[in-house]
């Protein structure tokens, strides 16, 4: 099929070998690419190897996967996925990220990479011009992600994917870092790389697959870029980046404050796009072939820490280290963000874990916790302690769920779903997000589908039945909305791999047109939704295989407790109603598994066999 190389690079770190393997055309048709294809290939691997691998073991295959649109010039489609079983949740883990690595990997002659085994000594992988080699990473081990990126760029040029000390030291929420600021943060994929002794991957090349219809593709790209320039939502991302989330969020009560315990805080206004522009912003950057340039470039100083023209904190980080910890100093937040990126940690899980620990300390349950609410200097020290696994940092490094299990009575203020710390959007303001968090395939996540975009009003998808104005404080219609948003999102943001911000103005028609120009295959909206449904059930089924049941499709008590103040005061989503409707739509049984019939309908008979075995 056009648009693909049709091959994956298989790296075996036990044997120190690298070799190309062919990708089945049937899989490309059914799973498209990105995280969908990674999940399918992951299932094949574990069926032939260890069904329930230790997330930090050699038998947990780690995938880096591009999509068919990567590197084609289609705007807002530079992203790629990293995926494996998560050390943080124990379930299917994935994170995607933009920048320039995806096009470089594709240009190096591969659609993706699968890494198995564990290297006896630190190594890094170089992929260039269809060839690949493993190199000694002894000199790189211990260096932060930005230093590593600089050194590899000097040695090889090209684009790098690296881990920092947090990944090396197996911090459960360690991130994978590209280009000194593009972070694949969620679910701890940096620790998976660290456990394998894989410090980095360098990709270089320009051998991109030919699209099926180059003339049509050029015309489509021109049209898409033109519409992006007219789309107010997309232009807002261009103007202020993801900080629009703070500006709008404080109006509707979407921004969590003080470990999700209060609904109002004067400091919130100091974290909006206005103060950000005035105090720390010095420029903006884009990903490959994206006219939005939503990435912020900042300079800042806090205490002895200086940031010079570096990637600035996104909305999620301004909330997770800002409002969640009551820090309203943007200079400090820019420094905290820079340090977290260099150490290689997910800022959402890290900030949420610190917030949880501070509340535990406040209640007298964790007296050894350092710092206090609003104490940015303590956060900077704690980040280093977490990455190096020192003192209290060693306990924090395992994430808030693991810490909570050591502290009786702390479940009341834990904010994880399935072990993943909730992102910075409050389901008490947007009720559909309660269901989206509860049923996301990787734990609490606002990016595992398009539900956040649809419910917030960023996306408008009438062609798949999502054109109405949803009452954000109601359960009405939300089960259907979340399921359809997941189905399209699995292909749109998961497999294709479109950016959910830059491509927020695009719909299933744009996705189908882009896939057609690149691969030559026609897609209807129905076919896209069915592919998405298949992928959702596949990832969900992997979770079931690792012990996920209906009991896990819940929000923690803290996220459902009504707030006493703020725009979302008194509002609580009716999760039970939404879940009941969702289970019926998804053909999920009372135990949380999809029915055999549903899995067979989606060509997932092998998954059904694993989940049901000899059961009648």
């Amino acid at each position: 099929m056009r648009g693909y190389h049709g091959r994956l690079l298989a790296v075996d770190l036990d044997r120190g070998t690298v070799e190309p393997v062919s990708l089945s055309e049937g899989y490309l048709r059914q799973y498209v690419g990105g995280s969908g294809l990674a999940a399918r290939l992951y299932l094949d691997h574990i069926k032939e190897g260890t069904l329930r691998p230790d997330p930090l073991g050699g038998d947990n295959p780690f995938f880096v996967m591009t999509g068919p649109l990567t590197g084609t010039g289609v705007p807002a489609a530079s992203r790629f996925t990293v995926a494996a079983r998560s050390p943080l949740t124990g379930l299917w883990g994935e994170a995607n990220v933009g920048g320039f690595f995806g096009p470089a990997l594709k240009g190096a002659g591969y659609d993706g990479i699968v890494v198995t085994g564990k290297s006896p000594r630190p190594v890094y992988l170089v992929v260039e011009g269809g060839r690949a080699s493993l190199e000694d990473a002894g000199e790189l081990w211990g260096k932060d992600a930005y230093e590593t990126d600089d050194l590899l760029r000097q040695r090889h040029g090209g684009q790098s994917l690296v881990i920092g000390p947090a990944g090396e030291n197996l911090v459960s929420f360690a991130a994978v870092v590209h280009g000194k600021g593009h972070i694949a943060g969620r679910t701890g994929m940096g620790a998976v790389m660290g456990a394998k002794g894989l410090k980095a991957i360098v990709a270089k090349g320009s051998d991109l697959p030919q699209p099926a219809d180059p003339v049509g593709l050029r015309a489509l790209v021109r049209d898409m870029v033109s519409r992006m320039r007219e789309n107010l939502g997309v232009q807002t991302f261009r103007a202020v980046g993801t900080l629009v989330g703070m500006d709008v969020g404080l109006h509707i009560g979407d921004v969590p404050i003080k470990n999700w315990s209060v609904g109002a805080w004067p400091g919130l206004e100091d974290l909006g796009s206005g103060p950000y522009s005035e105090q720390i912003l010095v420029g903006q950057r884009s990903c490959h072939a994206c006219p939005v340039a939503c990435k912020r470039v900042v300079s800042a100083q806090y205490g002895g820490y200086r940031v010079e023209r570096a990637h600035g904190p996104e909305y999620e980080t301004c909330a997770s280290f800002g409002s969640l910890l009551l820090i309203d100093d943007l200079q400090a937040l820019a420094c905290i963000n820079d340090l977290a990126n260099r150490l290689g940690m997910d800022t959402i899980s890290c900030g949420a874990t610190l917030a949880f620990a501070l509340e535990a300390k406040e209640r007298g349950l964790l007296p050894e916790m350092e710092g206090d609410w609003g104490d940015a200097a303590a956060v900077i020290e704690l980040l280093r302690d977490i990455a190096m696994r020192r003192g209290i940092g060693d306990r924090l490094a395992r994430g808030s769920r693991a810490l909570s299990r050591e502290i009786p009575g702390s479940e009341e203020f834990l904010t994880t779903v399935k072990g993943l710390e909730a992102p910075m959007h409050d389901a008490r303001a947007l009720h559909g997000m309660a269901l989206a968090y509860a049923t996301s395939v990787r734990g609490a996540c606002h990016m595992s589908g398009l539900a956040y975009n649809v419910e917030s009003g960023v996306a408008y998808l009438p062609e798949i039945g999502l054109g109405e104005e949803y009452d954000q404080r109601s359960a009405e219609g939300k089960a259907r909305m979340v399921a359809l948003s997941q189905d399209l999102g699995m292909v749109f943001g998961g497999s294709a791999v479109f950016c959910q911000l830059g491509a927020a103005g695009f719909d299933s028609g744009d996705l189908a047109a882009a896939l057609h120009c690149v691969t030559g295959r026609q897609w209807s909206a129905e076919a896209l939704l069915q592919a998405g449904e298949r992928i959702w059930h596949l990832k969900r089924g992997l979770g079931n295989l690792y012990g996920l049941t209906a009991e896990d499709d819940r929000l923690p008590e803290r996220l459902l407790r009504p707030l006493e103040d703020g725009p979302a005061a008194g509002s609580v989503p009716d999760l039970d109603r939404m879940l009941a409707e969702f289970y019926a739509i998804r053909s999920l049984g009372a135990d949380g598994r999809a029915t055999r019939e549903k899995l067979a309908e989606l060509n997932l008979e092998d998954l059904a066999e694993l989940l049901y075995g000899g059961e009648e």
Partner: protein, 142 residues
């Protein structure tokens, strides 16, 4: 018919809210600090309100509120149906959706518009209070 029977009623309700905002100790200084001229163009009924935070305001107010057409050069122009504006000032409009679907159109620097959002938060409580005071309880949204 929409919420307002004519421009005069719109000026009384939304214009009145703006004038209250111009006297408000929290909202007023923040909008004044923006130094912006913002024009609101309404349809059904046709009307225009202007917030002028650039030129000196009258005594006791932080900015000017002007009803009807004028020659001021706007930094930001917001266009919408009067009913959409009414819903917005109750805090009941999904602003992101309204902007993305063209129910509310904005002309001018997006960053400047977003910067004003935190300033107008008190208006959501002020609007129903004000309508009640002027005997327009029937216009209060539940």
């Amino acid at each position: 018919m929409g919420v307002f029977k004519d421009a005069a009623e719109l000026y009384e309700c939304i214009g009145g809210l703006f004038r209250r905002g111009a006297e408000h100790p929290e909202m007023g200084p923040k909008i004044r600090a923006s130094k912006l001229i913002i024009k609101f163009q309404y349809t059904n009924p046709e009307a225009q309100l202007t917030i002028d935070a650039k030129n000196p305001p009258p005594e006791g107010m932080y900015f000017n509120v002007i009803e009807g057409e004028n020659d001021l050069q706007a930094d930001v122009t917001m266009s919408m149906e009067a009913d959409v504006a009414h819903k917005f000032w109750f805090g009941k409009l999904n602003l992101v959706m309204a902007l993305n679907r063209g129910m509310m159109r904005a002309k001018g620097p997006i960053a400047a518009i977003l910067k004003l959002l935190p300033s107008i938060k008190p208006a959501y409580e002020l609007y129903p209070q004000y309508l009640r005071e002027i005997g327009k309880e029937d216009k209060i949204m539940g």
